[in-house]
Structure formats: structure tokens, C-alpha cells
Subunit: 292 residues, 4 copies
């Protein structure tokens, strides 16, 4: 929502908090920020009465900050301690670093590359990883390093170790599975909790598993969907970030559903990635809070 | 699509055909109608290459008909024989007779009553059946006979027999399950093939079975849906006629999903009923062709 | 979002605030509430950088309130004074009183009556006003007083005076123009600023003025729309609260567009009314902030 | 809808017909095709009762054709003469040749290039024309000739003459204005009737003219739209082929509307282009018939 009169993104920070629901949380947080000269620009929160959990996203202006960031973090940590908060602080001058995993389909990769170039994403694509060589030219077109990591049933563990080393070396904040056709091992996934976003080409939980467009055609549904979710060790069961659908009819062949699905996958994945990069998503249990 | 220059609905007929796909079907049918002075107003068809099946809906004008309807039907039967067609002919001057089955929820019943009154439906509501007395006043408001048929696990067979007798006595063409909370027996369902429309309050095949809004809330989906389908002996597996969805978010409680779902159920059921009444729906296997 | 663990609506209040954007507003407001034992349940705010305006909606729990409501209001007024705020406080134990104005179309009236009965609306329909007798039976069905106020070009001023007297006598908080086919005079409208909601049967600002469905058909648009807005003295120019659209095609006659439009009008008007009743809408200039 | 059992697209043809509405048209056309051994695969038609016009799209299989194409065309011309038809015949083995006109925005160009590459379009991009050099690298990435034709108020006529010569030399069937920021002269437009598709970044007829996203933001609409239409000499008044919308809220700045609008423009333009390439669109007066 940047506008002329707004501070630069680089001068803002976002505080994400979740904790057991109690009285006075909102006041306590706004007070500690106000006391430090951090002007709140936006604050959104949510309470899940069933889980008894409180969630908040506060975006604030750092330009008037009294003291340094370390001091601010100490002050926040102090409040967090009192309220038993899980919290993370995201400074606008750190742009998240993104790795895109692909196989043979290029539509999601192209979409992310173009959005990044047009400045839509609050983060930078830093590398492309693939188990197939097919999309190397696409990465090259956009001057992005392309890492070919072929995977067989025998070398999976060692190849994933390579990928993890690469991600850590490149200080990657977010992994995007852009129609990556390999199942990541639990070890890989647990290494990046709520930091791996996958696009599934169905309206989950319908058509879990393989060939969802074939399943949809077989079942004769009148809508097809796509789902972006955080990858967890339960395949297709991770917290859903975004979903959308498109109409289908008896006239649509599987090929036509696949074609239309590409448009869905693109926009659904892009929204999820953008929201994550803007620190709008909090995952808890099998769910997400998305502060749009 | 009735307009000034169009013949009255009463002067039109609709021919629904399905048969193995072959050359010359379209020409053969249009020719037999043309030869009898039946002017084609609309024709729509579909071929399912996998099933090798051909489907067609032809709406034509009877005002110039040479000879009587019997003669026309003989001529059609002759072509149908040659092409191994399943066919049905629907005259515009016969308005379909509709029975609505309800339990305690009134939103779908009211919706159908109001649409019928406003002239939206090419059919007439002739009676309401319920296993609960709650909605009798609603039926009365609209001067519609209300039949209370309470169902227990012990009297189900005999009560369904009563209902069937009632439907036949009233020459009912279509049964609409408007949030009717009883499972019909296979015997009942097989009595009215592709003539019972049910509204399911989820985006089938997601959340099959009970309490779909609770399931949706539990799973944290970002869209909720509703599905209208022909009732078959496989619960929730009947051919889907129409589906639609509405956005959901972490803010939505189950109560809120239920509320929003009512709007979905209303419009999805109404579309399915309207299309069926206009002879736009052909069911085959687990699928439907909907000639919108 | 009422849930088991939430306070009853009657024990909550909503504070709506708008003021010039400045530092510390959020902290100041949350502090005054916290200081008075009012626990914030939800807070949402928005800054319009162009207008330099800040807007906030705070929903809080009154059960722990220290002192009485008057004292709370004094405390809020004090902060409001310092920040030059326009504010309003809405107690959950006051249900807003709604008057529905209609002419001959019944679909929006029925829709509001059914939503009120099913408990969807945080307010009570208290009377129906119409310039035609046609819908009196509908009001009667729902035991609602019906006031026939026929309007001619000669008696408009005196008849509007009667209506205003009626609204004040009945302490009406919100007037809903549910396809009311009369233009209200500026005097009437200015009497109820941001308290009259109208449903316009087009996607404003397209097809301003009369017969929008005819205009839409004439223009060959592929979507039709409906718009709910606050009535202002500039016809069809009031702040838009909600809009939605539905697909149209070359097959749709004006009659079909009108039919589909009824569904749109219903849901769009209902959303706008619900949001207003829940104190989610702040109008400023030609725009609204809707805290969904 | 190509499937295994279907003839190759190259072995099919599409007949588009429009004529005054009369009895027997459908029979006459299906008969002439049947008589020539052309098996009808799909036929769709529409009657506009107000205009008294009949429209039909027939897709048929050429593999069993008795005699050559010339003979078929003679036979069709004969029927066409009797019914005063305007008709065109499109053979599947001729792929339409497309020129894309752009200025500085790359999103629609990239989208068309990627769809063409993925085989979505029943036509070939053959050249890119621009009044700015900016997008030459994009065209080059996809090995497409890029023609820079800068336009000033003084050289417009001569530059357009160059463009027309280029289009004719390249035997271009369709011109796509993919956010081309120049107004074409009437002379240019009349040269390619119903063969120039433009994408307008608003929900026409709302926000005609410049800076529609600014207009939308200014007006506070809750939906933004995009419109694909055939270019005519009345700016923004051409027959609409497709439209779609996306939700907007008070939180959306103009920049955000522009960003979301890019997604809309992409899909709306792509649908219109695809339908045109598949000979599904018939323009008449200010309207289109789209045989989806």
C-alpha cells in the first residue's frame, strides 16, 4: 500500500505475534512500540476462540525510533515474555531471498519471474533448482542461476543434502515449489517450517494425490481449483494459504482443464507467495491466518 | 430466451437425444423435424469422445407442424431406431410438477417458492413433503399442500411407500430435496431416475458426509461450496448438475460459514432446478451434460 | 464472529473513529480502553494517505469495564479532542431499528425479511413503507407494520414529511431502499446522512440512470452488476458500500438479465445492510471504508 | 476439444454464418454438409429476435468429404444465396497469423508469447510492432521479429501506412493491441474489420478514456475490471468480446489496482484472442455472439 506520504518500505518493520488469548495484549504491544517512537501504520489481529489463540500483525514506521533496533527487540522480548508470545520481527530493508524449485512445467516459473521483474514481489528470486534440465534456458533468460539436481530413488538423500547446502549457502528465506514433481523428504521439509510453499492443482481436499485434473474430469465437477499451501510432512495436508476456482463444463476435455488450470495455478501461487513475502501469513496447526 | 417475436413456450417442444456417436446424426434429426414443419429454434449438442456418446438438445416451433404430435413422434422414433437413440420429447404446454422435500431449514424452500411465484421456473410447485412440522406455515403462506411424513428407523419403508404413492397420485415430475435431512432408500431413488435433485452443502467431492461446514472450518479452506446433483443410490456420488463457491477466511466461524453457505445453496439449487425444468440436463454415468 | 468463548454481543461495544492521520493514535485509543478495563477483541484501521485521514474500528468487551459507560465516553471524548477525532460508540445491547422502503418488486424485501428472521442481521426490521399497496401482504406475512404513502408530483413534500415523522417516531436508525422507485428529496436524504442504503441494479458507474438492464443488453456487456451505496443528493453518486457481478452472454434477453439481476441485488444489498448494522462501514467523501 | 478419437484440427473446418432469421436454415445447412460427406462435429446457433438475425457456427470433419473444397464452397454458396447469408469458411489447416502491437507494458505480450509457446492458441504470433524500443528484447527472447514504428503527431499517417504494408506483406489475420498506447486512425481500423482486438483496462462502459484505474480509485468502486473488444472507429465503443472483474477495497492504492489489473488484462485478452482464433466470435452492430 505504499503511497507518496508513506515511509519507504525500507524504513518500516512488521511484527508478527501469536500467543494465548488474554486481556490487554493489544494495548501492551501498541504501548511498547509507541514508547519507542515506532509509529504504528497498520495493525490487524485475529482471535481463534476454539484454539484460544491470539494473532497479530503490526506494521510500523522506524524513522522516529528512539534508540537502536536491538533496544527495540529487547523491549518487545520483554512484553513477549510476559504474554508467552511467539514473535518474529521483519525489517523492510531485508528483502527475502527466494529459491524456486521446478521440473518441466514453465508457467509458474515464468509467472514468478515476470512478477519479480515488474516489482510485484517484496523479495528476490535468487536461484532456480530443478530435477530436469528443461527450464535452464528460462532461468538464463532472466539471468538467474539454475541448479540441475537430478533425483533417482537411490540418490535422493544425497541430492537433497546438496539442495539444503545450496539453500543455506544462498541464505534462502523461502522455497517455492512451482509445479516441482518430486516429493520432498520429511527431513528437508522440517528444515524449513512454514517456509516452503507448494501449489497443488486441485481444490484441496478434493482430488488429493496424482492427476487431479483427470480425477476432476472423471468426476464431472463444474469447477476446477488450485491450492497454495505450506509443505508439511503430510502430503497435500499442509496449511492452506490461498485457493481459487474456475468454471468447467461437460465440454472441457482433460487437456482443456489442464490449460485453464495453468491460469489458476499461476495466480493462486503468486498470491500466496506475495502474502508470505509481506509477512501476512501465520500458520498454526493445519490452518493459516492471512492478514490481507 | 422468450421474446416478443418468439413462439409461446406452449407452442414449442424440446427433443433430448443421446446415442452412440455416428456420422449424420445432426442432419438426420434436423431433416425429420424440417420435413414435418417443425422449425428448429435452438440446437445444441455434445460428443464425449471417451464414452463415444453423442448428446443433443433441439428446441423447435410446433406452430407450423404438418400433422399431429403422434405422427411427429412416429417419425422421430423411426430415426431414433436407426441410430440407436435414447430420446425424450418435452412439449412446452406441459408444465412439470414439482414436489419439494424439506426438514427444518427454510431458506431453500422459500427461495424456490419465491422463484416459482416470480415466474422464474418452467414448472409448478405442487406439494411440500417434510419429516418435521416446522415448515408447514411456510407452505401455507404460499397456498401449497404440506404433507407431514415423520420418519423413524422403524417406519421408514412404509412412510416412503406413502410418499411414493403421493408423488404418483400428484403426477410429480421432479422431486427437489431442499435440505431434506433424511437419506432416501435405494428403492425410492430408483423409482425416479434423474428426477430427484439434491443440494449438498459442500464443494463435492470435498467434505463428503456430515457437517461439511464443520469439516471446511476444521481444514481451514479458503473457499466453501455447494453442489446440486441428481440423487443416486451412492450417497453424495450422483451426477453433478451445478456447483459454486464463496470465499472464506480465518475470520469465519462455522456459524458464519453456515450463513454464507445458505446463499450458495439457494442459488446453486435454483440453477440446477431451472435447468432441469428447461430440459437442459442429460445425465450419463456419473456426469451430466448441461446445455446452458 | 460470535463463538462460545466470546462475550455476548450485548456485552460488547464498537468504537468508530476517523481523524487526521498522526502518530500515536492507535496507542492512545488502545490505552484509554485498556485503562478502563475494556478488553479489545478486534481492531482494524486504515489510513488514506491521499486524504491524510485515519480510520479505525475497535470492538471491545464491556464485562470488565471499570466505572460506567458515561465515564468511558468521557475518557474517549478526551482522547478524541486531542486528536481531532470524529467518533461514534455503538453498544451491542442496542439493536438498530430498520425501515424498508419498497414499491412493487418483492425480492429484496423478502430477502431482508428472511435474513432478519434467520438471525443474520444485527438489527430489527420495524416497518415497511411503500408508495404502492402491492407488498402489504408480504409485510403482513411477517407481522410487520406496512405504511402506504402514495406519492404524486404534487404531494411529494407533504408525504415525505409524513415519512420522516414516522421514522423519527419509530426511532429508525437505518433506511433501506429495497428497489424503492421514488427519488428522495435532498431534504429527506440530508436528514439521514450515511443512514440510507440504496440498491442500484447496475455496476455503477456504468449504466447510471434508468433501465440499466436494458442499457446493459443494448451495449452487449459480458457481465451485469449491482451496487449498494449510501444515498446522497447526487443520484447514483453516493459512496459505494458493495458491488458484485454475474456473467451475461449473447443468449441473455433483457428478461433473463432482470431475473439474474434479482439474485445479485439480493446478495449485494444484504451484504451492505449487514456490514452497516455491524458498524463496519465508514463513509467519507464519495468513498467508504468497509472493515470486513 | 481435440481428443484421441477426434479428427485432427487440420482435417476440420468451421463455417460461420449470419443471416435474417427464417425457417429451415438449420436443416438446409446441415443437409448440404451431410450431402457432401462433411460430418458435423459441433453446431451452435443463436437467434437475436430483436435484430431478427440468425447466427451459426458449424464445425465439421473434412476427412469424408466427397469432392474437393471448391465444390463444397460452391454448394454452401448456393444455400447462402437462397437464405441471404453472410458466411465465412475456416479450414483447420490454415493457422491464423497474429501481429501484436505493444508500447511499454510487457505483461500482455509475455502472456501471449507463453500461451502461443504452450500451444494454447490456434494461431501463430508472427511479428511484434511497437512505437517504443523497450520490448524488443522480449520479442527477441522468443525469436519474433520486432518492428519499431515510432509515432509522432506529424508522421502518424505515413507510419500507419508502413504498418499496414507490413501486415499485408506478412498476411496477418489478426492484430492484437496488447496495451498499445496509440489510437489507430479510422483508416487503419476500417482496413481490418473485426480483426483488431484491444484490451481496455476497465469494466467498459465504466471509466471510458484515460487512467481508468485512477478513475476507479477516485470513485471508490469495489470491483475493477478489464474488457477485450474489437477496435472500431468509436474509441472504447467496439463490440465487447470478453470482460472480467476482480475485487477491490479501500485498502487498494492505484498502484495495487494497476498490479491486480495486469492479471485481469492478461486473462481477459487471452480469452478473447483464443475465441477469435477458434472462430467462435461473430460481431454485429455493437455486440458479439461468442460461441463458447
Amino acid at each position: 500500500m505504499a503511497e507518496a506520504t508513506e515511509p519507504d518500505r525500507a524504513d518500516t518493520a512488521i511484527l508478527l505475534v501469536s500467543c494465548p488469548d488474554r486481556r490487554g495484549i493489544v494495548a501492551a504491544l501498541s504501548q511498547v512500540l509507541f514508547g519507542r517512537g515506532a509509529n504504528i501504520l497498520d495493525a490487524d489481529q485475529h482471535t481463534d476462540p476454539q484454539a484460544g489463540q491470539f494473532f497479530q500483525r503490526i506494521r510500523f514506521d522506524l524513522t522516529g525510533l528512539a534508540g537502536d533496533r536491538a533496544a527495540l527487540e529487547v523491549a518487545i522480548a520483554d512484553v513477549a515474555g510476559r504474554y508467552d508470545m511467539t514473535w518474529s520481527l521483519h525489517y523492510g530493508d531485508h528483502r527475502k531471498r527466494i529459491a524456486v524449485f521446478v521440473s518441466r512445467y514453465d508457467h509458474c516459473l515464468y509467472d514468478l519471474l515476470l512478477r519479480a521483474r515488474s516489482g510485484e514481489l517484496a523479495g528476490d528470486l535468487v536461484l532456480v533448482v530443478s530435477n530436469h534440465p528443461d527450464l535452464e534456458p528460462v532461468a538464463k533468460q532472466f539471468d538467474l542461476p539454475f541448479h540441475l539436481v537430478p533425483i533417482t530413488k537411490h540418490n535422493k538423500a544425497s541430492q537433497e543434502a546438496k539442495e539444503i547446502a545450496l539453500l543455506e549457502e544462498e541464505r534462502v528465506d523461502l522455497v517455492v515449489l512451482a509445479r516441482y514433481m518430486q516429493v520432498l523428504s520429511p527431513g528437508f521439509i522440517e528444515r524449513f517450517p512454514s517456509r516452503i510453499i507448494n501449489i497443488h492443482h486441485s481444490f484441496l481436499p478434493a482430488f488429493i494425490g496424482g492427476r487431479p485434473y483427470h480425477q476432476a474430469h472423471e468426476r464431472g465437477v463444474k469447477l476446477i481449483g488450485a491450492t497454495a499451501h505450506y509443505a508439511t510432512t503430510d502430503l497435500d495436508e499442509g496449511p492452506i494459504i490461498e485457493q481459487d476456482v474456475s468454471r468447467a463444463s461437460h465440454r472441457d476435455t482433460v487437456a482443456e482443464l489442464v490449460r485453464r488450470g495453468r491460469d489458476l495455478e499461476r495466480v493462486v501461487l503468486a498470491r500466496a507467495v506475495r502474502w508470505h513475502l509481506e509477512d501476512r501469513v501465520l500458520a498454526y496447526g493445519r490452518k493459516t491466518v492471512v492478514f490481507e
